[in-house]
Structure formats: structure tokens, C-alpha cells
């Protein structure tokens, strides 16, 4: 199909008669879209009967006779009783309702005028209606709303009472309840503008950015783990902190956009601008061994594009990946033109690292300073050592020449077997053929899981006798059976070593998983490099008697099991290059020795150094790498008598390791970086990674404004286009979400879909007016929110009259204030804030608050991950910082409808379930908050009633009525009695939660108060923002 440029399209679509009584966009297009476009719309491949109804010129050729519904085939088909004729076909399950048919009839009778889809039109210049609502309207928002209400014979509600209003706006702008102090200040401020002043204070609060970030994190599918398969932990929280800071700094939305989509491409990009690009790295990534790299890389690019399309354009771009969009005018070619922008990242589909590159260090100011000092120290140490070495160069050369002869050799005593993997060697039986390459000494064997070597079953590995086995390994792949003398099934009795993702696992097994010693390295060894490994065992039957040396030094290990109490002997051969008779080894092996005694640490070191040094000497000096040179240097220095030289060298090594250690501990964050050479982008047939077709260049859809002539052909060009002055969608979409934040729903209810299938706006002129104000203000987010929350519309009471509830149950007309259950994070944050437990600290790595035990073990790979709740204030940080594991998202937040963060989410459901009741009743978070609140009101002046009122107020922002106070007093009294008779229960109740309990407190009294105030967090009013 020939594509029609934007301007021409607008003209063409306007070319029909001007719409009469029936509004095409609001009334007709949704009907056509729902019933007809799937087969008679934009996608030529899906088009049936060569009929399209999405363009007037085509529709009037056969299906529609303007002015004459009776002669129009469309009406005849929609109303036909013949199952072969009726449209839509019965198998679709769709049928036009009488009301829909009547609308179409009237529309055709009036001339069947088409109109450009409302959201694709330029923003209306839009002044607010001049007709005001005297005494009610406070700003432009209200003029639009009042006009619409009047047209429907409705009138606005009274203003909400001040406390309710302050609680409402405090949640909406900071995600927290108002403090009692803020409440009193506000209620006591009798001067005009008190509310506006309160709003300004909230907008200036550092908690504003935290509240705003939650919605943006949903949109950006932010999480702390990689999501697919192994779901490893990644580090990208600096991006989350960037978002909080950007909102607090009121970064204009266009800058916010450009930096997140293309900060790395800005000239002289700052660290912060590069951190911002983490937006496009938040998608999931896979580490599943069998995954096909390109398949997943394509998914990542698609995810970026579809997220960007939803967040900025409100378009369901993904619908055009496999074929032209069925509803909106977006072709598959255009999809891949947009895809091309995101297809240039330097990345893999199958990732190896937990935080897959590109990754950057994120030192804060203090860390940067420390790092600079460490770097200077290391450089100075280098200079000093080099200077000290000058005089020793001749001695060094002599030493190196003699090293080959003098360096230690592996111990001879107790040697049972030695395998050098040399050609022609017959020590071990070869099963399958191993290739050979240059090794540590002579040749090494190469394994690809298909071969191994065997020593006979008589080879001794017993649990009650000492032995040592050591070898050189250069591992490849992620999971490998290094060696084992172990039964393949049953009890799996024996000894085995396997390598998994950089860690050696060593098992001495009597009965698999029950009676065994299981050790695993805590640090990782790099793949693709040679390491020497020695395992010594003293015959004690205890994990403490089993030691692991890597490159001559003891390796840190974790004991996973230490329950061996019998034999490990079996009739299996010792397989080298295989775990049992299944899992093979991938990589290279060399110089294996077996002893019938436990070697000492010194022996293990000498063994390694002898073979290591000779291997280095075999390399010509010019070809040695830095680590090889450093090893020789250290050995030389340690062999010298001069204390000064040794000290300098030790200082240098200490400085090096301090610097590299500090660098390793610096926060990292995933960022975007473009490839050096652009990657061509092809249209993928059916969206499949392995079906590339015609190549396309980066570009934007024809139905939207064109790119400026000088636009960069990269993400920066695209980002600037998204926030260009003539872009109709971005400001509407952005403003609509800000409205949703304050009213619970957008003016356009389908916040993620502004296309043909989306809902039309309830107040189109208001939406355009807000969008225009937003752009004209320089994309000022705080100003727009201020405009919304200071409107009379927002300030209305949310209590409807029964009559209003009947005519407008969803409050689309805004004849009352918005009311809805709080989002998940706010429910918990409120309990923490009201009780005083909340930590005010901003930012940092994901935190781990209370979570029931055992959940991670149920789902993680081999059950190997355990959730360990944090300590200290980590338990009481705001919920937006909660560590987000995609495989099993925080359960209490999930219960209150948080998204999973696997995909972009722009709105949340609001359910009301018994599982929510169970969280609020039994999660220790809320019991502990009840206790903390009890302690907080305990010392306040007054009787029980005064204290109950204060606590009530901290949660609901209002005074309880007499009746309410009476109910609470009754509960308190009864619980006092009960706990007095059961002091043990009282102690149990107050022991819930990690925060300290004052020793001087009476347990019975505190428990009764805890239970009573805990009840407050369970009230509908507590978790509803009215």
C-alpha cells in the first residue's frame, strides 16, 4: 500500500462532509473498530472481500451510501438474519447491538463523515471556556468540568472537609499520610491560600520523587532481577534513584524523556545522563543455557520499542510486529523502522553475567574521592617499587634464569598417580577421544562432554582415610562435571567435583542429599583461564577436614551439608572429565595428581607455584601478560633478603587490591551503549527472529508528524521527535497519566491505548487544554500537578448522593471527588509512617523487609536462593525500595495489585479480596506497626480516649466520633483483660517485629494497645484515599 504522509492524511480524512449530529470519533469509530476493522481495516493481509472501512474514500465505493442507510451494504450485513451474510461472522462471537446499528444509521444518514482519529490531531489551541461556574471554579480545569456537568444537568459536590482533602493530596503527591503536625498546621492556617501552600510544601518534599517514581517504575518494568529462567540479581538501582531525583528536581518532561531514551548520545554525556538510559535496560534477560542468542536479543529490542510506544505515544505498537496493525494505521514496515532505533545496542541475547553489559560504575561524590585517593596511592606505590627495583634488575635476571631449576616441584611422597594428558600416556584409560592443545606442562586435553579418562575402581577415595587430588583446569560453559568416583544412581555414594557458573562444588556422598559433605566455593573462578585446584582430605569424615586450594591458596567455601557418617567407597572408576557417568566436562584439563595423604598448605602452595612458574617461564618475556609478570615479581621479591624491597612490594600489592576491591564494590548500573558499526534491521516475517526479509532504515510512522530534516538517525533523534512541539500524542498521554494519578483514572481510561481501540476522552477539550499548558510551561510536571490538585474539581467531596451513584457509578463526569483504595506501596508505607517506624532514607540497593520464609526456595533453580530479611532500618524503608524479584515478586505487594514488572504496566487493578485481609491481619509488618504506634501514643498526655484519638488520627487524619471511640475503647478494655489472664500471649504479641521493645513497658498493657491499634490498619478507611 502506498503510504500517505501525515498532512495529506489529515486533509483526506477531513474531506468528507463535516460531521453532523453524530460524532464520528466518539460514537462511530469505536463501533467500526470493534466490529469491522479486524477484517476491513488497515492491515491489507487480513482484509476480506477487498473492503476497507477505515478510510472514507474506500468505504463509499461499495459498502456505504452517504445519506442512505437503507441502501448501504454495511447496514444490511450488520442486520442480516442469514448466518452466511451477517457481519461480523457468527464465529467471532461479536454482534452489533441495536444501539450501535442505530448510531451507524444516523451517521450514514447524516452523510457518513469521517474524521481524523482524535488523538492523532494536533493539540487544540484551546482556551478554557469563558463561561465560569461562579463561586465554584478555581482554575481552568473547573470551567471544562462545570460546562460538561451543566450539559448533563449535574452539579459539582461540595468541597471535601479539610482533613480529608489534606490526606488525599498528601497521598497523591508524596505517597504518605499527613503527619499530625502537618494536619494541625493546615487546619490552623486560616489565611487565604492555605491549601495552595500545603500543596507547594508537598511538591517540595523529597518524598514527592519517591511517590512519582512508583508509577514510572511500573511503566519502565523496573526490577532487581533478570526475570527469565535463573532470575539472577542485577544492579540497576542507581537508575531508580535517578528517577526519584529527577522528579524531585522537577526535570522537565522533555529532558526527562531525552535523557532516559538517549542520554548516552548527548554531547558530553554526564554520568547522570548515562545512568538515565537504564530505562531501556530494565527489560528481562535470559541466562537459560539452551537459549538461542538472537531470539532473545530480538525480544529485548521489541520490548524496548513496545514500552516506548506505550509510555510516550499511548500506542499498542507491538500489534504491528507480526503484521500490519489491525486497528491503527501502523504498518509492519513502520514497526521495524522504529525497531531499528533500538536495534543498535551492544548486547547479547543469552547473557552470562548477572548484570549484563554494558554496565558502568556509579561512584557517589564520596566514593569518587576515595577512588581517586586509592588510585594515587597505587600509582605512588608503583613508582616507589619500580624505583626500588632498579638496583635489583641484574639480580632479577639471574633469579629468573635459575628459577626453572630452583622452583619447587610437586611433592613425591604419597603420590599414587599422575596424569599429564600427554599423547601416548597410558596411566588412565581414555574413553572417547580428547583433542590436545598446549597446556601448563606439555599438552593438555580438551573436553566437550563426549569423552573422559578413567582410573580403575580400585583407586582409593575413602571417608576414613586421607587423600589429596589436584589438577589444572581451564573451564568453559556454565555447568561441567570435572571428575568423580561416584555411583550414577541410588545413594550416589562416592566423591565428585563439578563446576557451575564459576564455582566448584565438592561432594563426599554416603547417601545423596542426606548423609554427605557438600562444599561450594563462595568466590568465583573465571572461565577461559587456567587455575590449579587441590582438594585435600584428612579422613576425619567432617567438612572441616576437607580443604580446597585454588592457585596455592585456601579458597573460601561454604559448607552446605556436613552429615557424613559412614563410607563413600564404591565400585566405580575415577572418571576424569565426567561427574558420574552422565554430566561431562567442557574445557581443558592438565597435570592431575593423586596422593594417599592430605597435603599441607605449604605443599599445596609449592605444588602450584612450581608448575605455575615453569609455565610462565615457558612464555617468552615479551608475551607474558600482566598477571604472569606480577606473579614472577612477587616470587622474586619474596626470595630477597632486603626488607625494604619486600615492604614496598607488599605495599604495592595492598594498594592494588585496595583499589580493585573498592572498584568491585562500587555500585554498578546497566546502561545503553551503541555498537560501533550499525546493525542492519530487517523486517522479520511474522516477527520471528530467524525470518529476516527486506532491510529498512530507522524512521517514524507516516500518520504522525515527520522527523525534522536534520534529525539524528539514532535514539536521540527519536527521543527529540517524541517531545517535539508538533507531537500530538506525547503530551496528551503524559498529562493523562498525571490525571490518573490524582483521580484514579485517566480522562482517557485506556491510559496505554490512545489508538482506535482505546476509549475516547471523557473531557477531550480539557485533555487538550492541559496538554497544551504542559508543553507551553516547558513540560513542567510539578506545575501541572499543582494545577490539577488545586482545582475545585479535585477538591470536591468524594461522597456521592445515591442518585449520582446511580447515574455515574464510575465518576466519569467528575461531579464528585475521586476515591479509591490506596496502591500497594502506600498501604505499607502508611503503617510505617503512622507508627513512626518509617526510615526517611532515600535510595540505595533494594531492601528486604519481612517476607514469609521458604518462598524463594520453592521456585529458584535447585531451590538454591533464600530470602533473608534485612536488618535495622532496611526493614522499614519505603516500599518502592523493596527488592523486586521477578520470579516471585514481593507477595504482600502483589496481593494489593502491584504489577509483576515483567512488562510495562501503566495502570493497576484495584481488587478487594480476603487475601488482602490476611496480609493486613497477619503480616508482622502491621503488628509491629501497631506496637510502635502504641509506644508512640503511650507517653502522650491524657486518658485512653485521648491516646486512642491520637492514634486514630495518625492513621485516618481525623478525630474519631464518640461511637468510634467507644468501639475502640471496648476492644482495648477486653484485650487488657485477656492479656492480663494470658501474660505469655502478651509477651508473644509484643515480640513481633525486629524493632526493640522498651524494657520498662508493661507487656500486658502494650499487647492490649498493640492489638487495638493494629486494628486501625485494617479499616477500610485506612487503606482508602477519600
Amino acid at each position: 500500500m502506498a503510504r500517505i504522509p501525515y498532512g495529506v492524511l489529515v486533509w483526506l480524512l477531513f474531506a468528507g462532509p463535516v460531521a453532523g449530529g453524530v460524532d464520528f470519533n466518539r460514537e462511530v469509530r469505536p463501533i467500526l473498530s470493534e466490529l469491522c476493522f479486524q477484517c476491513h481495516g488497515f492491515d491489507p493481509a487480513a482484509r476480506k472481500g477487498e473492503l476497507r472501512l477505515d478510510e472514507r474514500a474506500e468505504a463509499v465505493k461499495s459498502a456505504i451510501v452517504p445519506g442512505d442507510p437503507a441502501m448501504s451494504e454495511v447496514i444490511r450485513r450488520l442486520t442480516s438474519a442469514d448466518p452466511d451474510e451477517v457481519m461480523p461472522p457468527p464465529k467471532t462471537g461479536k454482534r452489533a447491538s441495536p444501539a450501535q446499528i442505530e448510531t451507524l444509521r444516523r451517521w450514514i444518514a447524516e452523510g457518513a463523515g469521517y474524521d481524523t482519529h482524535w488523538s492523532f490531531k494536533p493539540l487544540a489551541a484551546g482556551e478554557a471556556p469563558t463561561e465560569t461556574s461562579p463561586g465554584w471554579a478555581r482554575n481552568g480545569v473547573d470551567h471544562f468540568v462545570a460546562a460538561a456537568l451543566r450539559a448533563r444537568g449535574l452539579s459539582p459536590a461540595a468541597e471535601a472537609d479539610p482533613a480529608t482533602l489534606l490526606r488525599r493530596v498528601t497521598f497523591d503527591l508524596t505517597g504518605l499520610p499527613p503527619t499530625v503536625e502537618a494536619l494541625e498546621a493546615y487546619l490552623g492556617d486560616r489565611k487565604p491560600g492555605a491549601y495552595e501552600r500545603a500543596v507547594d510544601g508537598l511538591l517540595a518534599s523529597k518524598h514527592f520523587g519517591e511517590r512519582m517514581a512508583v508509577g514510572w517504575l511500573d511503566a519502565a518494568r523496573y526490577a532487581d532481577t533478570n526475570g527469565y529462567f535463573g532470575d539472577k540479581t542485577r544492579e540497576i538501582w542507581p537508575w531508580r534513584d535517578w528517577v526519584v531525583q529527577a522528579y524531585n528536581d522537577n526535570v522537565p518532561f522533555d529532558v526527562f524523556t531525552i535523557e532516559q531514551l538517549a542520554g548516552d548520545l548527548l554531547p558530553g554525556a554526564t554520568v547522570a545522563q548515562r545512568i538515565a538510559t537504564g530505562f531501556n535496560r530494565n527489560h528481562m534477560v535470559t541466562n537459560e543455557s539452551g537459549a538461542i542468542d538472537e531470539e532473545y536479543r530480538v525480544e529485548y529490542v521489541a520490548d524496548r520499542l513496545e514500552t516506548t510506544g506505550a509510555v510516550w505515544l499511548g500506542l499498542t505498537v507491538g500489534c504491528a510486529r507480526c503484521h500490519d496493525h489491525k486497528y491503527d494505521p501502523l504498518s509492519q514496515r513502520e514497526y521495524f523502522q522504529l525497531f531499528a532505533y533500538f536495534n543498535q545496542a551492544e548486547e547479547d541475547g543469552l547473557v552470562r553475567e548477572d548484570s549484563p553489559p554494558p554496565v558502568m560504575d556509579v561512584p557517589d561524590a564520596a566514593s569518587a574521592e576515595i577512588l581517586a585517593k586509592l588510585q594515587a596511592t597505587r600509582e605512588r606505590a608503583e613508582t616507589e617499587f619500580e624505583a626500588a627495583m632498579v638496583g635489583h634488575r641484574p639480580a632479577y635476571d639471574l633469579w629468573e634464569r635459575s628459577l626453572a631449576a630452583e622452583s619447587p616441584v610437586a611433592p613425591a611422597r604419597g603420590l599414587v598417580a599422575k596424569i599429564g594428558f600427554e599423547p601416548g600416556e597410558t596411566v588412565a584409560r581414555s574413553v572417547g577421544t580428547a583433542a590436545e592443545v598446549a597446556g601448563i606442562e606439555g599438552r593438555a586435553a580438551v573436553f566437550d562432554g563426549m569423552q573422559h579418562f578413567e582410573l580403575p575402581p580400585t583407586t582409593k577415595f575413602e571417608s576414613d582415610r586421607p587423600w589429596t587430588i589436584g589438577w589444572w583446569m581451564n573451564p568453559a560453559g556454565s555447568l561441567s562435571g570435572v571428575l568423580g568416583k561416584v555411583e550414577p544412581g541410588g545413594a550416589r555414594r562416592g566423591f565428585e567435583v563439578y563446576w557451575q557458573k564459576g564455582r566448584l562444588h565438592i561432594h563426599l556422598i554416603e547417601d545423596w542429599g542426606i548423609k554427605a559433605i557438600e562444599l561450594v566455593m563462595t568466590e568465583t573462578m573465571a572461565g577461559g583461564r587456567w587455575h590449579q585446584v587441590a582438594v585435600t582430605y584428612d579422613g576425619s569424615g567432617r567438612a572441616a577436614g576437607l580443604r580446597l586450594y585454588v592457585n596455592g591458596r585456601p579458597a573460601a567455601v561454604e559448607t552446605r551439608r556436613d552429615s557424613l557418617d559412614g563410607t563413600i567407597s564404591n565400585g566405580e572408576p575415577l572418571r576424569i572429565g565426567r561427574r558420574d557417568d552422565g554430566l561431562g566436562y567442557y574445557g581443558q584439563l592438565d597435570e592431575l595428581r593423586l596422593y594417599d595423604r592430605a597435603l599441607s598448605e605449604t605443599e599445596a602452595h609449592d605444588w602450584w607455584w612450581g608448575e605455575q612458574s615453569r609455565a610462565i617461564l615457558a612464555v617468552t618475556p615479551a608475551k607474558r601478560d600482566a598477571s604472569q609478570r606480577a606473579l614472577l615479581e612477587r616470587a622474586f621479591v619474596e626470595s630477597r633478603p632486603e626488607a625494604d624491597l619486600r615492604d614496598r612490594h607488599r605495599a604495592l600489592e595492598a594498594a592494588r587490591s585496595a583499589e580493585s576491591g573498592f572498584r568491585r564494590r562500587l555500585p554498578k548500573t546497566l546502561v545503553m551503549r551503541e555498537r560501533e558499526t550499525p546493525r542492519p534491521t530487517a523486517i522479520l516475517a511474522r516477527g520471528q527472529y530467524d525470518q529476516p526479509g527486506e532491510l529498512v532504515h530507522a524512521g517514524v510512522p507516516a500518520f504522525l508528524p515527520p522527523l525534522p530534516r536534520d534529525a539524528a538517525v539514532n535514539r536521540l533523534g527519536l527521543a527529540r521527535w517524541l517531545v517535539a512541539a508538533d507531537q500530538p500524542l506525547t503530551p496528551r498521554v503524559a498529562v493523562n497519566r498525571l490525571w490518573q494519578q490524582c483521580f484514579g483514572e485517566g480522562l482517557v481510561k485506556t491510559v496505554e491505548d490512545f489508538g482506535f481501540q482505546g476509549d475516547p476522552p471523557s473531557h477531550p477539550e480539557l485533555l487538550d487544554w492541559l496538554a497544551r499548558r504542559f508543553v507551553d510551561s516547558g513540560w513542567d510536571v510539578k506545575a501541572l500537578l499543582r494545577l490539577i490538585v488545586t482545582s475545585a474539581t479535585y477538591r470536591q467531596s468524594s461522597v456521592p448522593t445515591p442518585a449520582l451513584l446511580a447515574v455515574d457509578p464510575e465518576n466519569r463526569q467528575l461531579a464528585r471527588g475521586p476515591r479509591f483504595r490506596l496502591p500497594a506501596e502506600m498501604i505499607r508505607d502508611q503503617a510505617l509512617a503512622a507508627s513512626g517506624l518509617l526510615s526517611p532514607r532515600l535510595g540505595g540497593p533494594g531492601t528486604m523487609p519481612y517476607q514469609p520464609p521458604g518462598l524463594w526456595e520453592e521456585v529458584t533453580y535447585d531451590g538454591e536462593e533464600t530470602y533473608i530479611a534485612g536488618r535495622g532500618d532496611a526493614l522499614w524503608r519505603r516500599s518502592l525500595y523493596t527488592f523486586w524479584k521477578r520470579q516471585l515478586p514481593p507477595p504482600a505487594l502483589q496481593t494489593f495489585d502491584s504489577p509483576t514488572r515483567e512488562k510495562c504496566a501503566l495502570s493497576r487493578a484495584r481488587t478487594n479480596t480476603p487475601l488482602q485481609a490476611l496480609v493486613l491481619l497477619n503480616d508482622e509488618t502491621y503488628l509491629e506497626a501497631g506496637r510502635a504506634l502504641a509506644v508512640r501514643v503511650r507517653d502522650m498526655p491524657g486518658d485512653d480516649g485521648a491516646k486512642l484519638s491520637l492514634a486514630f488520627r495518625r492513621v485516618t487524619a481525623r478525630e474519631p466520633s464518640d461511637r468510634e471511640l467507644e468501639i475502640l475503647r471496648g476492644l482495648l478494655t477486653r484485650q487488657r483483660e485477656r492479656f492480663r489472664s494470658e501474660p505469655g500471649s502478651a509477651r508473644d504479641v509484643i515480640a513481633i517485629g525486629a524493632s526493640p521493645v522498651g524494657r520498662d513497658l508493661d507487656p500486658v498493657e502494650l499487647a492490649a494497645w498493640t492489638v487495638t491499634l493494629h486494628t486501625l490498619f485494617n479499616l477500610d478507611e485506612a487503606i482508602t484515599r477519600r
Binding site: E288, D580, G758, Q894, D897, L915, L918, S961, L971
Partner: protein
């Protein structure tokens, strides 16, 4: 769709398109019995028990016997058989793809003469109740996408799971249990178990009250179910009464239907505190039950215990009971590990079938036994005299169904002589899901939810009801 003559769907449509404030409407859509959408078609099954064998059990060692492969043992898989099927990254680089014939004995069982391996003697004895589909196939070749496809109809995350769709479409029949319950057990295989993901029982873009509720063998059977230490039932009741009284004060003034719902949900939570422990406590079962399901049925969290629980859940009207048994990923050590895995599931799964039959529940309960794919005919890694492994294989695999209006004792579909390709009557994952929905009375093309402008289905834009296997 609103006016489709065969269904009364209006309220659901309102839920779907009518905004997000679901509380009042969702009253009981998690738990309330009377809320049921009328089915599209006459339902045969009222509920599903889905025994998911996570990891991909080997069809050629369990059900799809190929005696002719013995003579190919150790020889290269002919390239013509492999065709252009994708191999995973784990064996695509393997230079040799030697055929590994099964090492296990097979016999024919049941009226349909279905082959069942010696590893599954109990299953063999109930073969007359089972319908084997040997011609299953999927395009996914790795766990994450394959299991996500099986359970949500799409390889990538974001879609509702099967159980969530069922809850959404049919609601619950239980007064005090969720519509969708998940039970997880760990296999005995030595190999580490592959991960699961909450998305497999998630609600995707459906409201979260349709997500599966995990009933656990250790700790609280349902998260946050138990009263905290020191809080007695009496105290809890007192708290609930106070909260109710306070909520009622508000209800009078607020005109908010959510408050009534909230009060009702707190009462439901209170009832669950009794009903769930009652359900989980199997001490009231006679010894004969444990003789049938095997001794491990007394071990909480085991597959056997979960099978027994699934019957108890079925009796109590839970709509979708999803079991996962982990550890079926036999890349190596297949002979020993597969035996261990089969030992876990054989007796309890067969006992479940018999038990449902005896109680008259089998006809209205659809039991599904399936993994996310099958395994390769060729050996992964070296083919040893007594050992080998098999890689993932999407080209063909076997599932069995029982009860719920499925024809018992039949074998549907056929694979080629190498058990590598479907030779007759292919059944895609979408076809299976369409069939399961059909038995529940739901037309897979009509069970839709509007999200991001599109009417999504469990079967995406595919799926065909396999009428040949319907009773």
C-alpha cells in the same frame, strides 16, 4: 459479544472494560460460590486438576514406544529425520547425535493398547481411564518459553495463566477457598531442579484476584493465614468485630459499596483460617487412602500429598488445581533420574484417578498430565553403555488426559519411527488448551479480555478443539 445469545457475559464485560475499581463487583469473584458466568457451551468438566511435570519428561521412555529404534541405537540420527528442527544451544554444537533407544521395558495396557513404560506400573493399571495424546508439539525448545507457553498461551511473559482464565471465566464453586490453587513439589532426581516463576500462575492483565494461590506444604499453608504469635482466635474475632463495627459506621456515611465488600472479605478471611487448615489436615483420611496414594502422601509438600490434596480441593469445589512436580530435565543420568522422578509420581497420580472415579468425581474433573515439551531421540553428551541424557525436544511429546468428558482408553496421534516428528494428528499446545477450555464449557475464541486495544485469548489467535478425543 455483549449480546451473544448463548452467554450471559455482560457483567464480565463490564469488569473487563468498565474501569478498574473492581471491589464491589469482585465481591466473591475470588471466593463466592454463587458467582458463575454461564458457560458458552455445555460443560463436561467443572474443574481441572493439572499435573504439570516441569522440565520435560521423556516421551520415548514413558509412553511413545519405538521398538524399532533398538537397531538404530548408537547410530547417528538421520539428517532427514532431524530436518530443520531447531536444537537448543546445549546440543546444537554437538558433533554427534547418536540415537539412544529406550532402556526400559514396555507393555500395552488398557482397551486402546497404549504403551506404558515399566517405570510407571501404577499408571499402566489405570490406562483404561486415560487418553494419551502422543502428537503434542510446541515451537519452544527451552524451559522458560516452553512452560510459559503451556501455561499462558504465549512464550513471553505478560499473559494470564490457564487457571486465571478459568477463574475469570467461571468463577469459583467454593464458598471459602480460592478458585485457583497451586501446589508445588520437588522431584527426587539428582539433577538440580529448573526454576519456576510466579507468572505461571499469575493473572497477567486480568485482575489479580484471579491469580493462583499457592498452598504450601511447609509454613503457613496460605501466606499470612495464621494468626500471629500471641493472637488467639478470640482476640482475632474481637478485632474483626471492632473493625466491622468501625467500617459500618463509615458505610452509613460514605455511600461506598467497597466497604460492604471489605467487611465481607474480612469474614471470608476468618473462615479461610478454619477451612484451609481443615483441608490441609489429612489425618481424617483412612489408612486405605495412604495405602492407595503411597506412604509419601503423609509427607507435606510431596507430590503424593499434593495429589491427595487435589482430590480434597476438588471435593470442595476449587475450580483449577495446578500441581507442579519439578525435576524432569534429564540432560544426563536419564536412566537413574527418570526412574526417581517416576517413582515420585506414578502411584499417587494413578491413585488420584482411581479415587476420583470411586467418588464419582472423575466425570466432572478433567485431569491433565503434561510437561512443557519432550526429549530428543538422540543422546545429549556421550551415549554410554549404561547411561545417557536427552536434550529438550519440542517436535513431539506425550500428554495424557482423564475424566471430564474425554474419551478414556484411547491413544491419539502418532509420531514417526524415530519419535522425532509428529506423523499423524498433530496437537499443538493451543489445540490442547482450546480442548481443555471446551470441556469446561468455554469457547476459546470467545473467552477474551480487552487489553491494550486487543481482545486477548488463552489460545492467542490459534487453537482447535480436538474433537476426536471427546467422549
Amino acid at each position: 459479544m455483549n449480546d451473544h445469545p448463548a452467554i450471559s457475559w455482560n457483567r464480565r464485560v463490564f469488569l473487563a472494560g468498565g474501569g478498574l475499581n473492581l471491589g464491589a463487583l469482585a465481591l466473591g469473584s475470588l471466593l463466592r460460590g454463587e458467582e458463575k458466568a454461564l458457560a458458552h457451551v455445555a460443560p463436561k468438566a467443572r474443574r481441572v486438576i493439572y499435573l504439570f511435570m516441569h522440565g520435560g519428561p521423556s516421551q520415548l521412555d514413558l509412553f511413545d514406544h519405538k521398538p524399532g529404534l533398538a537397531k538404530w541405537h548408537g547410530q547417528e540420527l538421520p539428517p532427514s529425520v532431524r530436518g530443520n528442527q531447531r536444537l537448543t544451544g546445549m546440543t546444537s554444537g554437538q558433533k554427534s547425535l547418536p540415537v539412544a533407544a529406550t532402556r526400559f521395558g514396555f507393555d500395552r495396557h488398557g482397551p486402546g493398547g497404549a504403551w506404558v513404560s515399566e517405570l510407571l506400573p501404577h499408571t499402566a493399571r489405570v490406562a483404561g481411564e486415560l487418553c494419551f495424546i502422543r502428537s503434542m508439539h510446541t515451537e519452544a525448545i527451552n524451559h522458560d518459553p516452553a512452560v510459559t507457553l503451556m501455561q499462558t498461551g504465549h512464550q513471553q511473559p505478560g499473559r494470564p495463566s490457564f487457571g486465571a482464565w478459568t477463574s475469570y471465566g467461571l468463577g469459583s464453586e467454593s464458598g471459602n477457598l480460592p478458585a485457583f490453587v497451586v501446589l508445588i513439589s520437588r522431584g527426587s532426581a539428582a539433577r538440580p531442579a529448573d526454576p519456576l516463576y510466579a507468572r505461571l500462575w499469575g493473572s497477567g492483565f486480568l485482575p489479580s484476584n484471579h491469580q493462583g494461590v499457592s498452598f504450601r506444604g511447609t509454613g503457613d499453608p496460605v501466606l499470612y493465614l495464621s494468626n500471629p504469635p500471641g493472637v488467639s482466635a478470640e482476640t482475632r474475632r474481637d478485632q474483626l468485630d471492632a473493625a466491622k463495627a468501625l467500617n459500618q459506621v463509615q458505610q452509613a456515611g460514605q455511600q461506598d459499596p467497597e466497604i460492604a465488600t471489605r467487611i465481607a472479605q474480612y469474614e471470608m478471611a476468618w473462615r479461610m483460617q478454619t477451612s484451609v487448615p481443615d483441608l490441609m489436615d489429612t489425618r481424617d483420611e483412612p489408612d486405605s487412602t495412604f495405602a492407595d496414594y503411597g506412604p509419601r502422601a503423609r509427607v507435606p509438600g510431596s507430590f503424593a500429598a499434593n495429589c491427595l490434596l487435589s482430590r480434597r480441593l476438588a471435593e470442595r469445589g476449587v475450580r483449577f488445581i495446578q500441581l507442579y512436580h519439578r525435576g524432569w530435565d534429564q540432560h544426563y543420568n536419564l536412566p537413574s533420574d527418570l526412574r526417581l522422578q517416576c517413582g515420585d509420581i506414578d502411584q499417587p497420580a494413578a491413585a488420584l484417578i482411581r479415587d476420583l472415579r470411586q467418588r464419582g468425581l472423575l466425570d466432572e474433573t478433567l485431569v491433565v498430565w503434561a510437561g512443557e515439551f519432550g526429549r530428543t531421540t538422540y543422546s545429549q553428551g556421550k551415549l554410554e553403555p549404561a547411561n545417557h541424557g536427552r536434550d529438550h525436544h519440542g517436535g513431539c511429546f506425550t500428554v495424557w488426559l482423564a475424566g471430564g468428558g474425554i474419551r478414556p482408553g484411547v491413544v491419539h496421534g502418532e509420531t514417526d519411527d524415530f519419535c522425532f516428528n509428529v506423523a499423524r494428528d498433530p496437537v499443538h499446545v493451543h489445540d490442547l488448551n482450546a480442548t481443555l477450555l471446551h470441556q469446561l464449557g468455554l469457547d476459546h475464541e470467545h473467552l477474551t479480555h480487552r487489553f491494550q486495544g486487543r481482545d486477548y485469548r488463552l489460545t492467542d489467535v490459534h487453537g482447535r478443539v480436538v474433537r476426536e478425543i471427546l467422549a
